[in-house]
Subunit: 434 residues, 2 copies
């Protein structure tokens, strides 16, 4: 329960127990900070929607209203528009997924699919396994249904299978009920790492043999910069995976259109939960996206996004090598994020106000753990600022970090810490997150 | 838990307990039936969106994309777009409501506000009070959070205060925890009746003195046909009411934009719940509606809708008087619905297949009760079909009802039942629903 203002809240004693788990995320407060124009925000994961030609959207919308207006303006099916679901199959086929249009449920962004899956599966005290670190607002959802999030260690190839096996065994020994494994296996948020193909098979086998559902969240898979990533886990396992996709990154988040592809019985419950929650997702935005996918070169548009984000990823890696050469970070081959490791004694959350004073923002590592871990990590998003701003942001960040180290050196003479000095043209190898 | 296909569902034992409460509503199955063009559907509550000039929507959208494209395509605030919230205050002012833009939370249709309020308030076993009959998909939401719906009797002036007092006393004596009173006080779904002004004050006083929150759901208030209805309950009580509104009936449901106006502390929790559920409502549809409200004669458009629905209400009342003069029904002064009372021994749900065979559909009364009541009632929606189709639908319905009565007369000689014969120009007085 939020402690502020109890005395002012006449309904304080009326809230459901689960409401105690609904706390403002650290990312949330950052959105306000990041919106000030003088701040270089490496915090929020906002797609660069300006790379989407405006007339593609306007044209699709005009055709929808001309040819199908009364349908676009009306309530629709709780499962989503049939034609859009056909298009979604085409999109998923790019990542090796074959499925039936009957098993796709359109949702209000893939975030709402997370909410619906959680609502139908999670009782209080249930366990959800998640990568350490994991997507912050997924954990907010799990906790809002009173589930316990248990992290599994990751390294540069994603989830560590041995750690997953060990964690499951220990939780089962403790009598815990594990409902599902939540994973962003491709270009993870926040770490940017990708689960290797061999590990995908191994993780699926571990889940299968333990009767644990896999919730595969894949917003970034099509935004690869180098070679394509391994196929989705759903491509080789149908009955044990609920797969989540979205148009937020390949088109635009303002439409709030995502989807779940689920085994039959689960899909049926997702539709009922979707109807209860919103009656039906927006026909208007669904039909516009469907028209866009029918008529525009959407694969070419994804290439455009890839090129934009690749350039920004490169700018960030270059700047990190130039300004923070003694630190380590992940090297993402797609997506939006780099995960930066700071010296052990720096707390990225307590450093944030000083960073904002220096006009740069990031997301502290603790936001991505349910257990307080991640103190000396931060997530750096390269999706939104231009390459020049990214470089300037990293320069400012290096000033902040160096200032922090000097401060720590001054007040703590016990541990000898060198100030990290900017050096140029020296990109570090990938960090090991294990 | 749905019983179908347990053996086929490998995840059957994994669902949350609340999922047992997520059953397909009776209205849901009807949407499939109603979509066949040869059936006159008096079942679904679909607004007649064709009365909205297409260019009003297209023009607003073009301006939004031209002037504000990157904002419309981006994630927004979990509370909703500030300018739209300003407009929402103007809309609510028409029903006597004064509030702060800070206390409005935009949701994915007002249905999602119902879901969010339920999520933050309802623990398993909690009681929600609701009119008998009440809106079906609200009850689906309450039950999906394992709450118990308790009906309070209504008559032609809405909720009966004495019945409300008595019900609260009895539930409290039983040790029940009553979380809120859910009410559609104006042009109720399904009964079409309106809570009188005197009773609004009395119901608010009863709620206040018992520490019970009022959830005032008002989708139809601006769609009055005769004189304006009493002001909203929220107009005289701020701290004890969460008010829900929507653009689904005054504009179009395809946008999925509604809202809650809530006391400060509750509003804060609604925002957090909204962020967890969908990150933010659609910027794209919010900005289009905001632009529409800024530039179009939206009050004139509501008058257009009023005129369309008034004509249809009149057609339905006329046809009921002509074809089913011996039955009784409510006379709505706004909204979408008439509530028809059948002879006691007719079960409207079991009669439905025969009605569909006669090419007319309605919603059985039991859909609007959580306890099996309403067997000999039905909801007739006049919002969507043209007056001619409404008249033809009621003619077909009279054939079905007469056939049902003949059947009952044939098989049950114990109770002497007269067949109701169509007579003309004889509109019955309002039914008493008490």
């Amino acid at each position: 329960m939020t402690n502020q203002g109890n005395n002012l809240d006449r309904w304080y004693d009326s809230y459901a127990q689960r409401t105690a788990g609904l706390a403002a995320s650290e990312v949330r407060a950052l959105f306000a900070v990041a919106s000030r124009p003088e701040v270089v925000s490496l915090a929020g994961g906002m797609p660069f929607v300006s790379a989407l030609p405006r007339d593609l959207v306007t044209g699709a919308m005009e055709r929808v209203m001309r040819e199908n207006g009364p349908v676009a303006l009306q309530y629709g099916s709780g499962q989503g528009a049939p034609m859009l679901r056909e298009h979604i199959l085409e999109v998923m086929a790019l990542e090796g997924i074959r499925g039936s249009v009957d098993d796709v449920v359109v949702t209000t962004g893939s975030q709402h699919a997370l909410e619906l899956v959680s609502k139908i599966f999670l009782d209080p005290g249930d366990v959800v396994l998640a990568e350490g670190p994991s997507y912050v607002t997924a954990m907010v959802v799990f906790k809002s249904f009173q589930a316990q999030v248990e992290h599994v260690a990751t390294d540069d190839d994603g989830l560590v299978p041995a750690a997953l096996r060990e964690r499951i065994a220990r939780l089962k020994a403790d009598g815990k009920r594990i409902k599902f494994l939540y994973t962003v296996p491709t270009f993870s948020n926040p770490s940017g790492v990708t689960l290797s193909w061999e590990r995908r098979l191994e993780v699926l086998e571990i889940a299968r043999s333990n009767g644990i559902l896999v919730l595969e969240d894949n917003p970034y898979g099509l935004l690869y910069f180098d070679s394509p990533p391994p196929h989705a886990m759903r491509s080789v396992e149908e009955e044990g995976v609920v797969y989540l996709g979205t148009f937020s990154k390949t088109l635009a988040p303002g439409f709030r259109v995502g989807w779940a592809l689920a085994p039959h019985a689960i899909r049926e419950k997702l539709i009922l939960a979707n109807e209860a929650a919103v009656l039906s997702p927006s026909s208007f935005t669904q039909l516009i996206i469907s028209e866009y996918l029918s008529t525009a070169d959407w694969r070419g548009q994804i290439d455009t996004f890839r090129n934009v984000y690749r350039e920004r990823r490169d700018a960030m890696l270059q700047a990190l090598g130039d300004y923070l050469p003694d630190l380590s970070w992940t090297v993402p081959h797609g997506g939006f994020y780099v995960w930066l490791k700071l010296p052990d004694n720096i707390d990225s959350k307590s450093m944030l106000p000083r960073a904002v004073k220096e006009l740069v923002a990031y997301t502290p590592g603790t936001a991505f753990y349910a257990n307080g871990d991640g103190r000396n990590f931060m997530r750096l998003a390269f999706c939104y600022p231009t390459p020049d701003f990214i470089r300037e942001g990293i320069r400012r960040l290096s000033t902040v970090i160096n200032g922090e180290l000097e401060l720590l050196n001054t007040f703590s003479q016990t541990s000898p810490l060198a100030t990290i000095r900017p050096e140029h043209n020296n990109i570090s190898p990938p960090a090991n997150l294990g």
